[in-house]
């Protein structure tokens, strides 16, 4: 089970980069099709708001790959 968790860590990292790339590409395409304020604002919001989330997803994938989720803490002493 732990090796599956680690393997999927790589998938999450690739997925994070790929999905964000698609988002940016779609945003640029939509803005070039209809360069109005509304379109620019909407797509800029998406690109900005999903950047930190994507970084979080990459960290999640990295931690999974490194085995950080092989064992989950059973008490708060393991967290702080």
């Amino acid at each position: 089970m732990n090796s599956i968790k680690k393997f999927f860590g790589i998938i999450w990292m690739l997925l994070g980069v790929g999905t964000y790339g698609i988002l940016v590409k779609t945003a640029l395409t939509q803005i070039s099709i209809k360069p109005t304020t509304d379109t620019i604002v909407q797509w800029s919001i998406f690109v900005i708001i999903f950047l930190p989330i994507t970084i979080g997803f990459l960290i999640f994938g990295w931690l999974a790959f490194k085995g950080a989720y092989d064992h989950l803490p059973s008490s708060s002493d393991e967290i702080v």
């Binding site: 599956i4 999927f8 997925l15 509304d38 999640f60 967290i79």
Partner: protein
């Protein structure tokens, strides 16, 4: 076993926390429920779709700032205390809601109007970001360990009940502003929409009074007395690898899926009924109200069940049901409201014309309402307005307003389809407060649980109606294209949650 005084205390705690949280959700959702009217009042009317999108963007802005509220008020809650923090969020929410109801329209003060609306909407988002984590933490820290799922599930009902309250107040106000129903609607769209915003002040006042009488959480009081509160909760939540990994797991393995399921079942469903399959405004609201009323006790049921069998698999089954059944459910919704295979019943169809005479403006309005009754019982109502100038020139309205009224059998079928979607909400949302509380230690609990909750529920979930509508405008050939967003997000969350989350309940939240 709990003593009678302990039982009384926990009931008071649940009541004080739930009422306040319910009011905050009410405040937050009246804005969303009145999006089209707010668009016409505060945004330039050149294009109705652009106006609606602008409002939804403002709506989304309310959601996007929620994680920032989680950080700001979470930090305060972990340093100063739960009680005073969620009192502050209540005051901010109530004040900004009331103020939205006072802002003059775009026609009177120009761009200042949408700017003020946006500012107040951002304050609402910040306040909500601080509220939920505080209420859930406060209840969980009072609850006995074996009943935490049950007690916190009362907090979980508040988001849905807040939506219910907002729909109810809007419907009542819309109907009671004049004796003639069409006049009442007109008055509502003119200024009556402000009443639900003003009403908030009474609710918030009551809730502040109740909450002021409550004491601080015993766990936090003990922590503070021992001088063990966190010096920098944000840093400890996000910079310590051991805690950060749990924040990320909570977000990607539970809250992002739960968020999209929540907003699809209760918001996108409403938008879809009203804008895509054109069901009448009032029927849309009452369908949602009926489904919510029947489904709400299930939050408590699944919260309680999670105390017995664990939280994880209840949440995962909720997500799985949504992923598998959303498209069939929405196909069925289209079919229930469809008139394409039905003949027109000419004996019941009719046309009404009402002339609203010239009141000194130099023109009269002629409303022509065509009622087309189909053999399957659906009545299609088309309203056409002509402006008749005294000079004799007629100017037709740009677009006719079309809506459908469902007959009783189809109405209840639609209620059942919405109920199914809310059932998935109750499974994925009912146990989640207890699940989040148990993931994090007391000294950084408020901050640590609020952040993944508001990123998942606020950003992923809150953007659902907006992204779904946007997908619909990009790919016009498929009416259900908007569903791919919640299906994909819930699908990944299901996979991550199933793989990485533990079903073990952490009974000790005192540490």
């Amino acid at each position: 076993m709990q003593s009678i005084s302990e039982k009384k205390l926990i009931r008071k705690v649940i009541f004080a926390s739930s009422v306040g949280t319910l009011i905050e959700w009410y405040d937050f959702y009246i804005f969303g429920s009145l999006a089209p009217i707010i668009a016409s009042q505060f945004f330039p009317k050149t294009n109705p779709t652009a106006a609606l999108l602008s409002t939804l963007a403002t709506f989304a802005a309310g959601f996007i700032v929620r994680p920032f509220g989680a950080l700001v008020f979470g930090r305060l809650g972990d340093k100063v205390g739960r009680k005073y923090t969620f009192l502050l969020t209540l005051v901010l929410m109530g004040g900004s809601t009331f103020a939205i109801g006072l802002i003059p329209g775009y026609e009177k003060i120009g761009f200042l109007a949408p700017m003020l609306v946006l500012l107040l909407r951002l304050i609402q988002g910040l306040a909500l970001g601080g509220e939920y984590g505080g209420a859930a933490t406060y209840v969980a820290e009072h609850a006995p360990s074996n009943r935490r799922g049950y007690f916190t599930s009362w907090i979980q009902t508040t988001a849905t009940l807040g939506l219910l309250l907002s729909l109810g107040i809007i419907l009542i106000t819309r109907k009671s502003l004049a004796t003639d129903p069409s006049d009442s609607i007109r008055v509502f769209e003119d200024w009556g929409w402000r009443i639900p915003f003003w009403f908030s002040v009474i609710l918030v006042g009551m809730s502040i009074y109740i909450r002021l009488k409550m004491h601080e959480s015993p766990m936090f009081t003990k922590l503070k007395a021992e001088g063990k509160t966190s010096v920098n909760p944000i840093k400890e939540s996000l910079m310590h690898k051991a805690n950060l990994k749990m924040v990320l797991l909570a977000l990607f393995g539970a809250t992002m899926g739960q968020g999209v399921v929540w907003y699809t079942g209760q918001f996108y469903a409403q938008t879809f009924m009203e804008n895509t399959i054109k069901i009448d405004f009032e029927q849309t609201r009452t369908i949602l109200i009926c489904a919510i009323v029947v489904a709400t006790p299930l939050f408590i049921f699944f919260g309680n069940l999670s105390d017995k069998i664990g939280r994880k698999w209840i949440i995962m089954v909720g997500l799985l049901s949504a992923v598998v059944l959303y498209r069939p459910i929405y196909h069925q919704m289209i079919s229930v409201a469809s008139v394409t295979d039905s003949q027109v019943d000419n004996s019941k169809s009719h046309i009404d014309r009402v002339l609203k005479p010239n009141t000194g403006n130099g023109y009269s309005l002629q409303n022509t309402t065509t009622f087309t009754v189909y053999e399957n019982g659906i009545t299609e109502k088309k309203i056409h307005v002509d402006t008749l100038y005294s000079s004799g020139i007629e100017k037709p309205q740009l677009a006719d307003k079309v809506s459908k009224e469902l007959p009783t059998n189809r109405y209840w079928m639609m209620v059942a389809l919405i109920f199914l979607q809310i059932l998935f909400v109750t499974m994925s949302y009912g146990p989640i407060a207890a699940f989040l509380v148990e993931l994090f230690p007391t000294k950084i609990r408020y901050t640590s649980m609020s952040l993944p909750y508001h990123l998942g529920n606020g950003v992923f979930g809150g953007l659902t109606p907006f992204i779904a509508v946007l997908l619909g405008t990009m790919y016009t050939g498929d009416l259900l294209v908007g569903l791919w967003y919640p299906i994909i997000i819930a699908g990944f969350c299901l996979l991550i949650g199933s793989l990485y989350l533990s079903n073990k309940t952490d009974n000790n939240v005192n540490d």
